[in-house]
C-alpha cells in the first residue's frame, strides 16, 4: 500500500536513500587509496574493516522517517544508512570514519562505533549488543512519561544471538516502547540464513515474546514506512514493543575486500538488477512525482555528501595524546 506514505516522506526517503548510497560510493575509492598494488587493510585513509550498506537503504529510511531526534536508534557494524537516516551529522560522521579530530568521537570510534548524542544514535560492532541498550532507552522514556521510542536495528544473523531473545522478552515483560528491526540480507558473512536459522520467518519469533511480528517483503521503502509507522505509533501510545523483519539485500561484500565466494553464481547481478533505489524512483515517477523534483533532491543529497567528504578530508588528525582522554567521564 503505497498511499500510506505521504508525498513529503516519500521524497525524503528517496533523497535519503540517494544520500546513503552516495556516501558509500565515495567510501569505496577512498577505502582503496593506499591499499594498492598490495591490498592491506591497515593502509590508506580508511583503515580497518568497512561494511557498506548498499541495498539496505529502504530499511533505514522507512523506519527513520517516523523518528524524531529524541528517539533512540542503536545500529550495527553496518551503520551508515541508518545513521544518515537518523540525522547523524554528516560532516562529523565522515570525519570520524577518516579518523579526524572533528569526527563524532574525535577519531576514537571509527566506522563501527558512531555516536551522535544530539540525535540519540549509537552503534556497536558486537552482534546483537545494541538491543539491550535500546530496551534501556525505551524504559527511560516510559519512566519519564514522554512518548519517545527506541529502535534497535540488527541483521538476520543476529537474531540467533542470545541477546536478541533476552532483549525481546525483557521489552515485552516491561512493555517498553522498543521496536526491533531485522534487516534480512540473507547472509551473516558467508553463512546463509537458511543454513543457520531454525525458522523460515524471523517475524514469527515475535510470538514467543507476545509481541506483534511483521514481515515486510520486497525491500520496498513504502512498505517499510507503512508497517514501521504502525509499530512506532503503537509504541508511542504505550502499547509495547514490536518486531519487524524486512527483506533486503546486500549488494556488496560483507566487508570491503570480501571475495564473496559463498554467493551462488550470478546472485550479485540479479540483486543489482532489482536495486531498490532505481525501482523506487520509477514508482515515484509512476505515481506522478516530477522527474525534475526527484533530480533536484537527489542532487542536493549528493552535494551534502560531497561536502561532508571534502570536510572530512580537509580536517586535521587529532593530537595522538588525545588517545588518553575520555577513558573516564
Amino acid at each position: 500500500m503505497t498511499g500510506a506514505s505521504n508525498a513529503s516522506d516519500r521524497l525524503w526517503m528517496y533523497a535519503t536513500m540517494i544520500k546513503s548510497r552516495h556516501f558509500e560510493a565515495l567510501i569505496k575509492p577512498a577505502y582503496f587509496e593506499g591499499k594498492s598494488p598490495v591490498f592491506n587493510m591497515a593502509k590508506g585513509p580508511l583503515p580497518g574493516e568497512m561494511h557498506l550498506s548498499d541495498g539496505q537503504e529502504p530499511c533505514a529510511v522507512g523506519v527513520c522517517a517516523h523518528l524524531r531526534p529524541g528517539d533512540t536508534v542503536t545500529a550495527t557494524h553496518r551503520p551508515h544508512h541508518v545513521a544518515i537516516a537518523k540525522g547523524v551529522d554528516l560532516d562529523a560522521m565522515a570525519a570520524e570514519i577518516f579518523g579526524k579530530a572533528s569526527g563524532l568521537s574525535g577519531g576514537r570510534g571509527g566506522h563501527m562505533h558512531l555516536f551522535d548524542a544530539r540525535v540519540n544514535f549509537a552503534c556497536s560492532g558486537i552482534i546483537a549488543q545494541g538491543l539491550g541498550p535500546a530496551v534501556g532507552a525505551a524504559l527511560a522514556s516510559k519512566l519519564r512519561g514522554d512518548d519517545a521510542v527506541a529502535v534497535a536495528f540488527l541483521g538476520e544473523g543476529a537474531a540467533n544471538q542470545g541477546a536478541f531473545h533476552e532483549a525481546l522478552n525483557l521489552a515485552s515483560v516491561w512493555k517498553v516502547p522498543a521496536i526491533f528491526v531485522i534487516e534480512d540480507n540473507a547472509y551473516g558473512i558467508s553463512v546463509s540464513k537458511r543454513d543457520c536459522t531454525a525458522v523460515e520467518r524471523n517475524a514469527d519469533r515475535a510470538a514467543a515474546y507476545a509481541m506483534p511480528g511483521h514481515f515486510v517483503a520486497g525491500n520496498d521503502a513504502d512498505a517499510v514506512h507503512t508497517i514501521a509507522g504502525e509499530a512506532i505509533a503503537r509504541a508511542r501510545r504505550g502499547e509495547g514493543p514490536s518486531l519487524l523483519e524486512i527483506e533486503t539485500c546486500r549488494l556488496e561484500g560483507h566487508f570491503m575486500g570480501d571475495a564473496e565466494g559463498y554467493r551462488p553464481e550470478g546472485e550479485v547481478e540479479r540483486l543489482k538488477a532489482s536495486d531498490p533505489i532505481p525501482a523506487y524512483r520509477a514508482r515515484l515517477l509512476a505515481d506522478g512525482f516530477e522527474a525534475a523534483d526527484l533530480d533536484r533532491t537527489a542532487a542536493e543529497a549528493r552535494a551534502a555528501v560531497d561536502a561532508a567528504f571534502a570536510f572530512a578530508r580537509a580536517a586535521a588528525y587529532p593530537d595522538p595524546e588525545e588517545a588518553f582522554t575520555h577513558v573516564f567521564a
Partner: protein, 347 residues
C-alpha cells in the same frame, strides 16, 4: 622409505603461514582421531575468516566441519558438552573481543569442568581466536586479552609467534585433556588482506610433532638483558635486538609461547645470567603478563642490575584513528629505547 634424515635433506623448505600451519595441524589430527571436529562461524565454506580451517570442509564434510549460527553461548557451551562426551572439539570464535557474549561457557563451564567433577569429567577442547590490533579496526576488534584468560584457573592459553610453533602447538592443544585458548595474532597470520611480519612465515615438518604447552623458548641468545615477548611482540623484541647489537648491546629474547601455564623458570634462568628484564606485551598494561613475569623474577630473589621494566598497551580502549593507535602500540623502537635506558641506569 627413506630414513628421516634423508627425507629432511631432500625436502625443500616450505614457507608456511600461521594460518596454513593451523589448518594443516587440525586436518592431520582429524585424520588421526575421528573424535576431532571443528565448528564456529564461517569456518566451513569460507575456511575461517583468518584461514585456520581452509580445505577442511572438502576433506571431512559438514558433519565434522560445522558452520554455526551467531550463537556463541550455545555452540561454545555445546563444545563443553561434546568434550564431556569424549569428543575433541576445535572451536573458533574469530575475534577474542567477542568472548564477552559467551564468557560463562568459557570461564565457568570449560575452565571448571575437571575441578568441579573431581577429575571425573575432562574438557578437551580448543577455542581458537585472533588477537591484536594495529590495522585500524578499533576497540571491539583489536584487543589482546592474554592476561584476562591467563588469569582464569583451568584454562591453558597459548600464542605462537611463527608457523612452526603454530602447527606443533595446535597438535598439542587438541591432544591436551584441558580447555586450551589458542590465540593467533592478526599481524602474524599471513592473510592476503592484512600485513604479515615475514619472520612468522616459516618452514615446518610435514609430519606429526608437538610443541609442548607451557614451555617458553629462547629465540635469540644474549648477555646483557632478557627481553620477553609473546606473539607479535617476540618479533618486535627480535627487531630491537638486531638494532641493539649494532650498538654493542646483546639482548636475549624469550618467546613465551604460553601464557598459562607460564614458564617462569625459563625467564628466571635467563635473567639470572643477564641481570636485566624487559617484558613487551600488546595487551593492557595493568594486571598484565608483564606484571606477572616481573613478579615471578622478583619472587625468586635474582640479583638485578636495573629495575625490571614493561612495555604494554596503556590502560585505554584501542582507539580507531591510526595516529592514536600507533602512538600507543608497542613497537621495536620503543623496545630499543627502553633497553638503552635500562643499560644507562644499570649498575
Amino acid at each position: 622409505m627413506s630414513s628421516p634424515d634423508t627425507a629432511t635433506a631432500v625436502r625443500p623448505a616450505r614457507r608456511l603461514t600461521i594460518a596454513r600451519a593451523i589448518a594443516e595441524a587440525i586436518g592431520q589430527e582429524m585424520e588421526r582421531d575421528p573424535d576431532v571436529l571443528v565448528m564456529g562461524e564461517d569456518i566451513a565454506k569460507l575456511g575461517g575468516v583468518f584461514g585456520t580451517t581452509t580445505g577442511l570442509l572438502d576433506r571431512f564434510g559438514p558433519e565434522r566441519v560445522r558452520d554455526t549460527p551467531i550463537s556463541e553461548t550455545a555452540f561454545i557451551g555445546a563444545a563443553v558438552g561434546l568434550a564431556a562426551s569424549g569428543m575433541r572439539p576445535v572451536v573458533e570464535l574469530m575475534f577474542v573481543d567477542f568472548f564477552g557474549v559467551c564468557m560463562d561457557a568459557i570461564y565457568n563451564l570449560a575452565a571448571k569442568q575437571s575441578y568441579f567433577s573431581g577429575g571425573q569429567v575432562t574438557c578437551p577442547m580448543v577455542l581458537m581466536t585472533s588477537v591484536g590490533g594495529g590495522y585500524g579496526d578499533a576497540g571491539q576488534h583489536s584487543q589482546a586479552l592474554y592476561a584476562t584468560f591467563g588469569h582464569l584457573p583451568g584454562l591453558k592459553v597459548v600464542i605462537p609467534s611463527n608457523a612452526h610453533d603454530a602447527k606443533g602447538l595446535m597438535l598439542a592443544a587438541i591432544r591436551d585433556p584441558n580447555p586450551v585458548i589458542f590465540m593467533y595474532h592478526k599481524a602474524l597470520q599471513g592473510m592476503g588482506w592484512l600485513g604479515t611480519v615475514q619472520r612468522s612465515i616459516t618452514d615446518a615438518p610435514e609430519g606429526d610433532y608437538v610443541v609442548p604447552l607451557g614451555k617458553a623458548k629462547c629465540v635469540r641468545e644474549g648477555e646483557d638483558i632478557t627481553v620477553v615477548g609473546l606473539g607479535l611482540s617476540v618479533h618486535q623484541a627480535l627487531d630491537a635486538a638486531g638494532q641493539l647489537a649494532e650498538g654493542g648491546i646483546s639482548a636475549e629474547v624469550i618467546d613465551l609461547i604460553s601464557v598459562a601455564p607460564l614458564d617462569r623458570e625459563a625467564v628466571r634462568a635467563s635473567v639470572r645470567r643477564t641481570g636485566r628484564l624487559l617484558v613487551v606485551d600488546d595487551d593492557y598494561l595493568s594486571y598484565g603478563v608483564g606484571a606477572e613475569i616481573i613478579a615471578s623474577v622478583c619472587e625468586a630473589d635474582i640479583p638485578l642490575r636495573a629495575p625490571p621494566q614493561r612495555i604494554a598497551f596503556p590502560d585505554i580502549p584501542v582507539p580507531f584513528t591510526p595516529v592514536m593507535e600507533h602512538f600507543v602500540l608497542p613497537n621495536a623502537d620503543k623496545v630499543t629505547a627502553a633497553v638503552r635506558q635500562m643499560m644507562r641506569v644499570s649498575n
